[in-house]
Symmetry: C2
Subunit: 360 residues, 2 copies
């Protein structure tokens, strides 16, 4: 029996994608090989790779000014890889802190230069805000401004992306990339680990404006130097071929769903159902400011936290899995990525109401 | 129809492993989830991860002095990650050059300090030797000596591993790890990308002696700092979970084959059959010195190279795939990793003899 999986990542994948991967495991399209067994330089994998790039470019409407790269190391890897690639001339950047992930990005950048905190969304209730552009106190001539556009742990999503003129905006979009259309032209760099909305853990998508490819520090490892990766079509080192294949299957699934505008409409509906349930009750609490509540990651707390274990056990018994909040904040978290169907959210809110009725 | 796949990597996997992965794709052991969908912190994946570590430790008889880490970035990533982790106190190392991969390792290390070439196996015929310890001209007090113990492109395998006393030996064993027992105690660090004998591309095994965990440069990215990775049981960042799962299935398959001593006996038989065929003919040529001929990667040339395309086309028609040599050296290369069965090598040598008989 398949469950409803609310994991924050690695996370639920579309069942159609998993079925196709299983069917093709021993013999991809009559090649006699599994995708895992193919040389990354052979015609079979090259076609998989090139389809994935084209489909992603189409889905996100990536402009010709930007290259799409496949790397390894995830978001945490990029915390170092970004300054290593952009601190060549100016080893300093500004950080807008909206939660745990942007805090980590700022701290790691200190290894390579200055990392100025331009604004913070921390309040007495934790990270519950995304400071507006008017609040950002930028330093003089930074190499870039970094923003985590969706904070997975704290459930804070930034929808208003300012125009910074000549200063490149770098966004960690790991946990909401592909959940809605985005105006890629606004970003110098936008990156994301695959294990939420793209596919399986092990591949990182980096979308980078071409004029930023020339700013690497001399100590940047070749395998992670965007210019080298771009010049080699993401094959400077052996790419994570199977992870790219799975991402490609997810891209085709997204196109069958109607693309990102259609996906966004479903995601709005799912998130509204869950937040409305939380807000209608004093039994469940979410303190994130409404305009920046994440559509992907919905953290909530039971007013009486002594009931946490009971809540999780009851959920598990109904096939509602991986609802425990991140250890740094506690409580619950429902991650409702693209692959979590509306039926899963309906089952969750029914359970929440029933649990409240029997325990309030 | 499954083919015989002689790819140098990503490469053939045991059919049993692929069948199991396909069977478990939608529901791993009644969990209701694919392994791809599991939180890396949940009990299901933790058990997969811990089994993989224990099985690998048993197969290679890794002593308690050494930790096993799962990283990302492959061998090319490690070319930077190794000096970043070992140049903290002494930014200088020595390199024994036995082919293209050790050349790349030496060149990348120059980004972080001095990279002295201690010996080279280059001859008028290319890389055909592995210089003996007596030929190594070590510098004064290097942080480590680097050796690629199996050169995938050139087909040079080093079997005699010297004792360097207090100087750590660092080995890139990507393309022959798990092909035979190795005395891990002789190595300070031994690493390998998974895509030859371990599993699918996207995970790198790093075996490191514990006293070497304290030597990182301050600029080492956290996600690739062995000490941080070790302290977090290879989960400082989200690990490539599915690649670890597939590696774990391969480890269990290797144990069912009788472990590395049994695998070595089969690999000796396979390599002997192929090299004997080459040596018995003047139609095919391999110039690597016999004691250091690789059991995993067998490059060979047709004396008349104008027949290369015919040779490859005829091979493909019989289901003998991916035999083209690396573009930097040309000719042919048969990679006969653990998962390539004796029957595959028999089919190849039959074809080679027949091709010779009809074209000589």
């Amino acid at each position: 029996m398949r469950v409803f999986n609310f994991s924050a990542g690695p996370a639920a994948l579309p069942e159609e994608v998993l079925r196709q991967a299983a069917d093709e495991m021993l013999d991809w399209h009559g090649s006699g090989m599994s995708v895992m067994e193919m040389s990354h330089r052979g015609p079979e994998f090259m076609s998989i790779h090139s389809d994935a790039l084209l489909d992603l470019r189409e889905l996100l409407a990536v402009p010709a000014s930007h290259q799409i790269l496949f790397l390894q190391g995830g978001g945490i890897g990029e915390n170092a890889i970004v300054p290593l690639n952009l601190f060549g001339a100016k080893p300093r950047a500004d950080f807008v802190i909206t939660g745990s992930w942007s805090q980590k990005s700022q701290k790691e950048a200190l290894k390579y230069g200055a990392a100025h905190i331009a604004a913070s969304g921390q309040t007495e209730h934790g990270f519950t805000r995304s400071p507006s552009r008017a609040e950002w106190q930028l330093s003089d001539d930074p190499a870039y401004v970094h923003l985590c556009t969706n904070e997975t742990i704290n459930g804070v999503e930034t929808f208003e992306i300012p125009d910074l003129g000549d200063i490149p905006l770098v966004a960690d979009a790991s946990s909401h990339i592909l959940s809605r259309p985005m105006d890629i032209a606004k970003y110098g760099v936008l990156y994301g680990g695959a294990q939420k909305n793209i596919g399986m853990a092990g591949v990182t998508v980096v979308i980078v404006r071409e004029d930023l490819l020339d700013r690497a520090m001399s100590i940047c490892p070749s395998a992670f130097e965007w210019k080298t990766v771009a010049a080699n079509n993401s094959m400077y080192n052996t790419p994570p071929t199977y992870a790219i294949y799975i991402a490609g299957l997810v891209f085709k699934w997204l196109k069958r769903q109607g693309g990102l505008a259609a996906i966004e409409a479903r995601n709005i509906e799912k998130a509204k159902l869950l937040y409305d349930t939380i807000d209608a009750s004093s039994f469940y609490i979410n303190k994130v400011e409404r305009p920046v509540r994440s559509r992907m990651n919905v953290p909530f707390f039971l007013a009486d936290e002594s009931r946490n274990e009971d809540f999780l056990a009851g959920a598990k018994a109904r096939g509602l899995l991986q609802l425990k909040g991140h250890k740094s904040v506690g409580g619950m978290r429902a991650s409702i990525y693209n692959a979590v169907p509306l039926e899963g959210v309906k089952a969750l809110v029914e359970y929440m109401k029933e649990f409240e009725a029997t325990h309030a």
